[in-house]
């Protein structure tokens, strides 16, 4: 019962907000180019549904490709530097620099390097850069998170480096790695959209491109529809990863909850 209520609460709030919005637009007669009513947005979404879904898939597939690349590079690098504080010390400032540099600042150059014919490569590359840090940081922290007394036991029983990695450090890192990938997935979508704004044209027709296109044509309802699809996509991906994370951690720990 309480579970049902807690599930319905956010739905009820959204319905309430949409109803208020619809009423306000109608009562105050707000022009559609300033703020379209939810009904108009829904109509626009229905009207250009296939185009929007196609663009959403475009953005999602680029974000997922970026996530896969970021995961491979970040995990590989974390595994490489984890055994040596010196190596980590050398790499970490660069990783931080990569993280704090806004993706829009490097996007124009990335587009030039990728070649104007391949804007999707620039988008994937930029999104991968954004997604890199949480995975690198999570895995590195995780590899160091094993109980020091367990590390001592591995010393005591003469474990090899590989035994220590596969039997102790990687399993201990699993929760940190999952968390890192979850954060990175959200960032990859943000990164892909931002990169599309700069690079998007021609073959890279993702959702960002739909938003820009609709805004330029003053099709504000369509613009809103594209933004909503983007939001829904992000939430769906987050929910999927959340469920996956919980499922894996439940098995990892052998019981539910933290």
């Amino acid at each position: 019962m309480s579970r049902l209520v807690s599930l319905l609460a956010p739905v009820a709030l959204v319905i309430l907000l949409l109803a208020g919005w619809e009423a306000m637009v109608r009562l105050l007669q707000v022009p559609a180019y300033v703020l379209p009513a939810p009904s108009a947005v829904a109509a626009a979404a229905a009207g250009s549904g296939t185009v929007l879904l196609g663009s959403a898939w475009n953005t999602l597939s680029m974000a997922l490709a970026a996530l896969a690349i970021a995961s491979a590079v970040a995990n590989g690098l974390a595994l490489l530097v984890a055994p040596s504080p010196l190596m980590e010390g050398a790499v970490r400032p660069l990783a931080v620099a990569l993280q704090v540099t806004p993706v829009v600042a490097i996007a124009p150059q990335a587009v030039i390097w990728a070649g104007l014919d391949h804007p999707e490569r620039a988008v994937v590359g930029l999104a991968a850069i954004v997604a890199f840090f949480p995975i690198f940081s999570g895995t590195l922290t995780g590899l160091r998170s094993a109980d020091p007394d367990l590390e001592r036991l591995f010393d005591l029983y003469g474990a090899t480096r590989l035994q220590r990695l596969f039997r102790l450090r990687l399993p201990a890192a699993a929760p940190f790695m999952l968390e890192g990938h979850k954060v990175a997935a959200g960032l990859a979508i943000v990164g892909a959209v931002v990169a599309e704004f700069v690079a998007g044209s021609g073959s890279a027709q993702g959702l960002a491109w739909r938003i820009l296109e609709a805004a330029n044509r003053l099709q504000i309802a369509r613009e809103f529809a594209a933004v909503f699809v983007l939001g829904l996509m992000g939430m769906a991906l987050h929910a999927l990863l959340q469920v996956g994370e919980r499922e894996i951690l439940t098995r990892w720990r052998g019981r539910k909850g933290r």
């Binding site: 367990l150 036991l153 005591l156 029983y157 039997r167």
Partner: protein, 248 residues
Amino acid sequence: MSLAALEEVEVDYPGRGRALGPFSLALEPGETVALIGPSGCGKSTALRLLAGLEPPTRGRAVLAQGRGETSVVFQAPTLMPWASAADNVALPLELSGAGRAEARRRALQALEQVRLPGVAAAKPAQLSGGMAMRVSLARALVTRPRLLLLDEPFAALDEITRRALADDIQTLWAELRPAVVFVTHNVEEALYMAGRLVVMSPGPGRVASVTEVQGPYPRPPGFRTTALFRELAEKVSADLAAAMGAAA
């Protein structure tokens, strides 16, 4: 010839000065020794030296030779949360190259020895504190060590559980007869668990007094209420108070 020994060892920690020493301790096969002292007297450091987990800054540590000859039980169960009880117990055997099936067979045996049959598949989070400690004990015994090092193994347990575990450890000792070093800050526990009590004074850790505890081992029921027990408890408590007073 002793099984393992610390000879005039000293341990310095950078920035914190000397933690231990000069300190000497020789262990005969099968004997039970308790190191007792206030926190910070270096008793856990002495234990790590005996396990070969760290080297002395000066002096010599003679270790029990061979993999699996020395086992440690820490204050916390220190189990791998992602692995089942049986996999946790099998770990020392697998790390030293035993086959999976053989390691598992012996792990199940060890779990039975600590009176925990039927939890083989359970993850540590599904076990009570006492059960997790028994799994930890099974992991230490699975290699049939000649030297068993116990670092305040009862610290996190309630009174009933710690008494049951204290008796179980002695029963297991009677089967395998390893030398045992038991670190604690509880006088009565030390008297119950060991035939020789080494009281340590802090800052840096040294031997303040040594007391031989006569009487049968494993301890018979009611040992805690004997005149001998109470008399020794008072003597060792006085030694401990003097050791702490000397440091203050």
